[in-house]
């Protein structure tokens, strides 16, 4: 009797030992590296939706991401998939290192908005990944301050100046600018280009005209005319400080990207109850700067290449795009048919469909150089070392020095 129950116990244990590894093999674990923590809920949902794959997301700080990625991709502990920064200047580096390869035929890009494909295209014209997230650069403002002072969204540059004047009289900083973050100044410049100049920037973006041309000079001149309404310690303000200030109500408006409206961003973390409003930068250009924030890429040296490619193909589908819209709260790169339920998404989606600018400077083919030149030039301007004319000359000199 004892022997029989003993044998039963042992066979049950053996059965369990054999069954457990088998069930584990049924699910493949893929790692995805990113700098965007807002992607976590999305990939949890994708893991649930897909039976045979489990995606582990590793988030690194934006500042360290590129360095970590380079190190990881050269070792055995690298990711299976990763998010890449947009533009040929990023893609080329990794393509020449053999870490990414052009997309296989199994990935169907027909549903993706064609304008966003440039984020995943190298200078050889081949597409290496699937673009994600359309971001917009616009004015994000504290709605409660506007309501308190009975202000409505200005539609013209003159109305904008009047609004800023009222805000200043009521001891609120009208526009907060992050002077310490060069890249955020480049973002601001891009937003101003679209709103104040619009289509006339096309010539400058394709480098047929210099930055000292009228299309960009008027951007610099207008920004200079706003100097009395910008935070006095602009040169000392950093990016998160700027976002915290608009959340706290110390400043009314910031020029920032759509990602800052996410519930995981600094603004929501500073004050979860803050009401934000979005508006295009009022100007004669009438456009809103929109771009794809990067691309999902597969590590060509990954041990689980097949599964990774399958997952990449899924990111180009409508089902994934809807999950993206629902869980990340940003705009997906899928062209049509996505329902946006978030407060700010629908508004931003209308900006993109009606007012998107038809060229790219920031986050475009020469993204790296744009940030390296425009950021410090604006810092020089904010420090009072150059005037508006000097600012455009600095930028043009910088591009010339880089043979662009």
């Amino acid at each position: 009797m004892k022997r029989k129950s003993g044998m039963t116990a042992v066979s049950a244990l053996l059965g369990l030992l054999v069954a457990t590894p088998i069930s584990a093999f049924a699910e493949e674990t893929l790692t995805l590296w990113t700098w965007r923590k807002q992607e976590r809920p999305l990939w949890e949902a994708v893991s649930k939706a897909m039976d045979d794959v489990n995606i582990k997301v590793e988030v690194f700080k934006g500042v360290d991401y590129n360095s970590r990625l380079r190190l990881g991709l050269q070792s055995d502990n690298g990711p299976d998939l990763f998010q890449g920064r947009p533009g040929a200047s990023f893609i080329d580096q990794y393509a020449s290192a053999g870490v990414i390869t052009p997309l296989p035929a199994t990935v169907d890009l027909s549903g993706i908005s064609p304008a966003t494909l440039v984020a995943a295209t190298g200078s050889d014209g081949k597409v290496y990944g699937v673009p994600f997230a359309v971001q917009t650069v616009q004015i994000i403002y504290n709605k409660s301050i506007f309501e308190k002072l009975n202000l409505s969204e200005p539609q013209t540059p003159e109305q904008f100046l009047a609004v800023m004047k009222t805000l200043k009289e009521n001891r609120v900083i009208p526009l907060e600018v992050p002077g310490r973050a060069g890249w955020a100044l480049a973002m601001m410049s891009a937003g101003l280009e679209a709103g104040l100049s619009g289509e006339s920037m096309k010539q400058i973006a394709s480098r047929q005209s210099p930055f000292t041309a009228e299309a960009y000079q008027q951007v610099a001149d207008t920004f200079a005319s706003w100097k009395p309404y910008i935070n006095p310690s602009a040169a000392a303000q950093d990016y998160n400080g700027m976002r915290a200030n608009v959340a706290l109500g110390d400043s009314a408006m910031i020029i920032d990207g759509l990602w800052s409206t996410s519930p995981l961003s600094t603004i929501a973390q500073t004050d979860p109850s803050v009401e934000l409003g979005l508006m295009p930068i009022p100007g004669h250009g009438g456009k809103v700067y929109a771009f794809a924030d990067g691309a999902y890429l597969v590590n060509a040296n990954s041990a689980k290449r097949e599964a990774a490619d399958k997952l990449l193909a899924f990111t180009a589908t409508k089902a994934f795009a809807q999950l993206f819209a629902d869980h990340v709260g940003e705009l997906s790169t899928y062209a049509e048919g996505i329902r946006y339920q978030g407060k700010y998404q629908a508004e931003a989606a209308s900006f993109v469909s009606q007012h998107a600018q038809p060229y790219l400077t920031w986050k475009g083919p020469f993204n790296v150089q744009y940030e390296e030149i425009v950021g410090p030039a604006y810092q020089k301007f904010l420090a009072g070392k150059v005037d508006a004319k000097g600012l455009t000359q600095e930028i043009e000199n910088g591009f010339q020095a880089k043979n662009l």
Binding site: F90, R180, A235, V368, Q379
Partner: protein
């Protein structure tokens, strides 16, 4: 009973000498040789450590400076191109000389505080000052703190909403808050002050131990001869402090020219506002790993070239000081 011949058996020196050398050969290593072998064995661990962690990376950096490598992918050999570009291309050489000037200013501020304030406090601690053990503890406490903690604390103190500005405004000394870290003129000195505050304790201890090493009988003789306190300090104590001063200068020189922790923590690799806090360490970091926007390109070959230039810049000063110190002994 016959015994083996010994040198004492012989009266003439040549035969004695010959026998002595034979005796030596048969008895293994001499004392001298054993002594030298001991020295070598004791030095080997130190040399190995130094070789692996200092020399090898230095040689590696030298080799890397002849290549163009973006951190991933193939590395192309470019010979002296990196150095040529660094020294002649306007974009790079402007940044290099700006960084060098600012590093020098940073160094001067740090060394003035270390030697000036350090000596003053060390002197005060060497006398019968009331509560001097408590002071010693207080002076040395910042030293083991992490640079991140000190930088963060410093930033809070000089912030526009921080205590310095608020107190000055409360006492009507200023009408608008001063942007210590926001103005191009004050940012670098402010950061230099943070670093000096943290590392002052070490200089005080070094100088204090040198002061305490002054021979008491020399001081007594000076006092008996009628020297005042200041004359004692100037003519008896200070000459003895020279080695300590040299050591502090060398350590600070190497630290300021090689490391950039405070600037990187407070201002990031962009070293704002507008490169006014850019020192050689941040210039190298920015070239190696890109700017804070995350889109910057990495150019590790160029960064290695910058590293070699930095070494060349500080090497003469360090060697001169070390030699001078050795000669004075």
């Amino acid at each position: 009973m016959p015994h083996a011949p010994s040198p004492d058996d012989y009266s003439d020196d040549l035969s004695a000498e010959l026998l002595r050398s034979d005796v030596k050969k048969t008895q293994g290593l001499s004392f001298r040789q054993k002594e030298k072998l001991q020295y070598a064995l004791l030095l080997i661990p130190g040399c190995l450590l130094y070789g692996i962690f200092n020399l090898l990376p230095l040689i590696g950096t030298l080799v890397l400076s002849f290549f163009d490598w973006p951190g991933i992918g193939p590395a192309t050999f470019v010979g002296f191109d990196n150095f040529t570009k660094l020294l002649t291309d306007a974009y790079m050489s402007d940044q290099l000389w700006n960084a060098f000037q600012q590093t020098f200013v940073f160094f001067v501020i740090c060394i003035s505080i270390f030697l000036g304030l350090g000596t003053t406090f060390a002197l005060l601690l060497s006398w019968n000052t009331a509560g001097k053990s408590a002071y010693k503890l207080l002076f040395f406490m910042p030293y083991p703190l992490a640079a991140v903690a000190v930088a963060f604390l410093g930033q809070l103190i000089v912030d526009v909403r921080g205590p310095i500005n608020q107190l000055m405004m409360h006492w009507d000394l200023i009408s608008a808050p001063l942007m210590f870290l926001g103005e191009a003129d004050t940012a670098l000195p402010t950061i230099a002050l943070f670093q000096s505050w943290q590392k002052l304790g070490f200089s005080i201890m070094l100088i204090l131990s040198a002061i305490l090493g002054v021979r008491a009988d020399l001081l007594e003789a000076a006092v008996l001869d009628g020297a005042s306190r200041w004359q004692c300090i100037r003519h008896v104590v200070f000459p003895v402090l020279a080695p300590a001063f040299v050591l502090i200068t060398i350590l600070t020189l190497v630290d300021v020219f090689n490391n950039a922790e405070y600037v990187l923590i407070l201002m990031g690799p962009d070293a704002g506002p507008y490169y006014s806090t850019d020192i050689l360490g941040t210039f190298q970091y920015r070239t190696a790993f890109g700017t804070s926007g995350g889109s910057g390109t990495a150019d590790l070959g160029m960064a290695a070239a910058i590293g070699m230039v930095i070494s060349v810049l500080i090497l003469p000063a360090t060697i001169y000081l070390a030699l001078r110190n050795m000669r004075n002994r």
